[in-house]
């Protein structure tokens, strides 16, 4: 079976890969490109641990075939920090201990970054609805929500 040749942009870098038709974007990120920050929790779009941004839109990498990435722009957790400088959300999640085991954290950070780019001043309810597809079995969500609200306020103050 012939492989598909894909040229796409990942975290700003033009990236080429070969994949099978049935491989998902998550398979390629993790198994071919060694970008293992995106996690596979359920593989069926329920848990959000594989959240990535494709052409500005938040999606589950497990529910997108890798072949679909041709010509698109993909942002993953690996592109969130600027070198050694953490994104304000990452910094705040550390400061406020908004994670425990950490498996859901990359997905939640990517999802929240996309939210704050769209809406710098979300209500708590908006944050909770936006993150309804990111499951966390450790924190009970409160620490996550507080960290997001705090970061949003900081980023508005800095802007």
């Amino acid at each position: 079976m012939s492989q598909i040749h894909v040229i796409t942009t990942i975290n700003g870098d033009e990236t080429e890969f070969l994949c099978e038709a049935q491989e998902t974007l998550l398979d390629v990120l993790r198994d071919h490109l060694d970008l293992t920050g995106s996690k596979e929790g359920c593989g069926t779009g329920d848990c959000g641990a594989c959240s990535v941004i494709v052409d500005g839109r938040l999606v589950c990498a497990c529910l997108m075939l890798a072949g679909e990435a041709e010509g698109r722009s993909v942002e993953t957790i690996e592109g969130m920090a600027d070198g050694d400088d953490l994104h304000p959300l990452q910094q705040k999640f550390l400061e406020m201990a908004a994670l425990q085991c950490g498996v859901c954290t990359p997905g939640i950070l990517v999802a929240t970054k996309n939210l704050l780019e769209r809406n710098p001043n979300p209500t708590e309810e908006e944050v909770r609805y936006w993150l309804a597809g990111n499951l966390c079995r450790c924190t009970g969500y409160d620490k996550i929500i507080r960290a997001v609200m705090d970061t949003a306020a900081d980023m508005r103050g800095a802007a």
Binding site: V59, M64, E68, L115
Partner: protein, 286 residues
């Protein structure tokens, strides 16, 4: 499995017509789960997201034409569409998470043919028409005539839905969709009701279309229930009659999400609440 990404409807139809085992990929939120579960093993998936006309929302003849590959999030980001057809956009907004809505399409929701599809009763109540392309050209089909039963559609070999058309919103009309689920988010409808109604200058209902979801093998157009509203102002006795007629029109089964008896009862309750929202919207109050 082959991965194909045609750039025109004709090309997509040719690929689909040539291969009975090929499947159309729109948002993929159902198809990719089925692939993973091994429920389907298509010879090819045909990605329709490179076809410009299928990825755009356009105003058309006073109404809206929504390409079959448009994600539901984009519908809810189109303010004028939300203003015209809030019943449809709020139904699309109930399907899954932010991530799912970034991919899922209402045409896919329709063609997946789940009896519990949220956007389908809302589209039916809006009088939506699916444009179907196939080897013999294209045809327009009322949305309610696409699903024929759970997982089954009336589409012939080589045919695919290319867009959904929502007609011009009638003057003084309002649309709404509500569903019952055991929690507030991220669940499958136990009962869903879509209603569109139109008022005259005195506030009496002149036209109504009511569609019930998750209470039959496919979406139910509740014609007798719609008649109970005609000529009324949607006052309490009228809404009681509506509720009774909707319960009577429902043909649910017992399953893990609810018993048939419960669903019949809830159909009436949800119909009443949906009608109140549609009435308020028709009056410009909501």
């Amino acid at each position: 499995m082959r991965f194909q990404s045609p750039e025109s409807v004709d090309e997509a139809v040719a690929l689909l017509a040539a291969d009975p085992e090929a499947r159309v990929l729109a948002g993929g939120t159902d198809l990719l789960v089925r692939l993973r579960m091994g429920d389907v093993a298509p010879s090819a998936v045909i990605d329709i997201k490179r076809i410009t006309e299928m990825t755009t929302i356009a105003q058309d003849d006073g109404g809206w034409r929504i390409g079959a590959a448009v994600p539901s999030a984009e519908m809810n980001e189109t303010a004028a569409l939300v203003t015209d057809w809030p019943g449809v956009t709020e139904a699309a907004d109930l399907i899954g998470s932010t991530q799912i809505q970034g991919r899922a399409t209402v045409a896919g929701n329709l063609c997946n043919a789940s009896p519990a599809a949220d956007s389908v009763p809302a589209m039916v109540a809006a009088g939506a028409v699916a444009r179907v392309a196939g080897p013999n050209g294209s045809r327009d089909v009322p949305v309610e005539d696409i699903p024929t039963g759970p997982g089954q559609t009336s589409l012939a070999q080589g045919e695919l839905v290319t867009s959904i058309f929502l007609p011009a919103k009638p003057e003084n009309s309002g649309s709404a969709y509500l569903r019952f689920i055991p929690r507030t988010e991220m669940d499958i409808a136990v009962v869903g009701v879509g209603i569109t109604l139109t008022l005259d200058s005195a506030g009496a209902v002149t036209a109504a279309k009511i569609a019930l979801g998750a209470v039959g093998p496919k979406v139910i157009v509740a014609g007798d229930a719609a008649k109970t509203l005609i000529g009324t102002t949607g006052d309490d006795p009228a809404l009681d009659a509506l509720a009774a007629a909707c319960s009577a029109a429902a043909t649910p089964i017992d399953d893990k999400r609810g018993t048939a008896e419960f669903r019949r009862d809830v159909t009436g309750v949800i119909a009443k609440r949906t009608a109140r929202i549609a009435l308020a919207r028709a009056k410009g109050e909501a």
